[in-house]
Symmetry: C2
Subunit: 241 residues, 2 copies
């Protein structure tokens, strides 16, 4: 892990860009250290997502958390596989035609992404948890929800997760969801255009966790209200602090 | 309104029993005054509900709220109408036979209760808001959800409401729900035996409020987790404080 830039933000939060091998990432650490860590999930495209990630990182820092994000495979300037490009083109075609997105397209789009991204998040966790200012434990917060589910199943260092409903979920992820046992806090935007509300409710039902909470709010995909973000960080504070 | 007893609870909270005409009630006021007021809904039977109401009142007092509850028509020692008794018997028969509860039974059970209870809660509001320690504004928190809906529609002094899903809802209440415009926070127990989960989700969808949030948690009807109660009071604090 190599830091490539740093700057101070509000409230003494230190923002540092890094690369982990060829993967770019950003780490935000609060003034108080050592801090527990939140891995911030996102749909890919760190540069585009940055304003929202910074807002979430500052909100997390208010509760004493460090936060980090790495670029997804195929996101931003990272090379995309031909298969992923093909699946994305098929998805776009279905959406533009107003047709239902086939389960097979969702599988081709999401499953290889999860298979590739999860080991990368785990490598990031190795590097981040060895830094002096980061004390652990760690949580995951964000989308892609299938990445969060897989991480919750395979990565014992993730103690709790906030999952953002609102992406296409392969059928096999429902089986993985049953194997999740860590505390979960699921955010659902009730009017999310691109999201199948019933599928999100079914997925919430499937999770095996003894503590799981669903917070549904009005508004579209990017309209998560500030108070809902606060409640999500408060959930993590209850389990990680 | 006549006070009939008083005692100090934890944190300097003053608990006073009162009667409003023939209706018994309880008022809890925090050490800090004047306090905004939460009307605490419940399924009837103040004596039986008291331990849970006290817990909710103390939780509310931590956020500076006064809280009050009055007995429902037909609840506790209050006389029940023959029609209500008949509807209740029909409900019991259906539940014991494992049959679906007919919409007509629900109408006969709930609508007269709402018609009678809501003016009583409004009279209680008149009396409570004129007390020196109570400053307003006021919110409603609890079940019976149909009472909360009607109050939210007809009573302009109710500025925000926490509604507990988990009671039978007459079909016409879905129409009233569309006319609700105040901020809402709906609590749903995901595994509530006596509750139709889909009906609760449909009702949430129907509410006309621009700000509405659904918090679903695992567990049965009386198993609302402590953190969910905290989040509900925090919602009221955001809107009433």
């Amino acid at each position: 892990m190599r830091f490539t830039s740093e700057q101070r933000l509000d409230d003494g939060v230190l923002e540092r860009e890094f690369t982990l091998g060829e993967i770019p990432g950003i780490l935000w650490t609060p003034a108080s250290a050592p801090a527990p860590l939140i891995l911030m999930g996102h749909p890919g495209g760190l540069r585009r997502m940055r304003p929202r990630l910074v807002a979430r990182a500052l909100q997390s820092a208010e509760f004493g958390f460090a936060a980090a994000a790495i670029e997804l495979p195929g996101g931003g300037d990272r090379p995309a596989s031909a298969a992923a490009e093909g699946a994305r083109a098929d998805l776009r075609r279905a959406l533009e035609a107003g047709e239902p997105v086939g389960a097979e397209v969702v599988d081709r789009l999401v499953l290889p992404l999860v298979d590739k991204a999860v080991p990368e998040w785990q490598a990031a966790l190795d590097a981040l948890l060895s830094l002096p200012g980061i004390g652990g434990p760690a949580g995951y917060s964000g989308g892609v929800i299938s990445i969060g589910i897989r991480l919750a199943v395979v990565e014992p260092r993730i103690s709790a997760a906030v999952l953002f409903a609102g992406s296409f979920v392969p059928r096999t992820m429902f089986e993985e969801a049953r194997r999740v046992t860590i505390p979960l806090h699921v955010l659902l935007q009730w009017d999310d255009e691109g999201n199948d509300r019933q599928a999100a409710l079914d997925l919430f039902d499937a999770f095996g966790s003894r503590e799981k909470t669903l917070h549904a709010n009005l508004g579209g995909h990017t309209g998560v209200p500030r108070f809902a973000g606060d409640a999500a960080v408060r959930f993590l504070a209850r389990h990680l602090s």
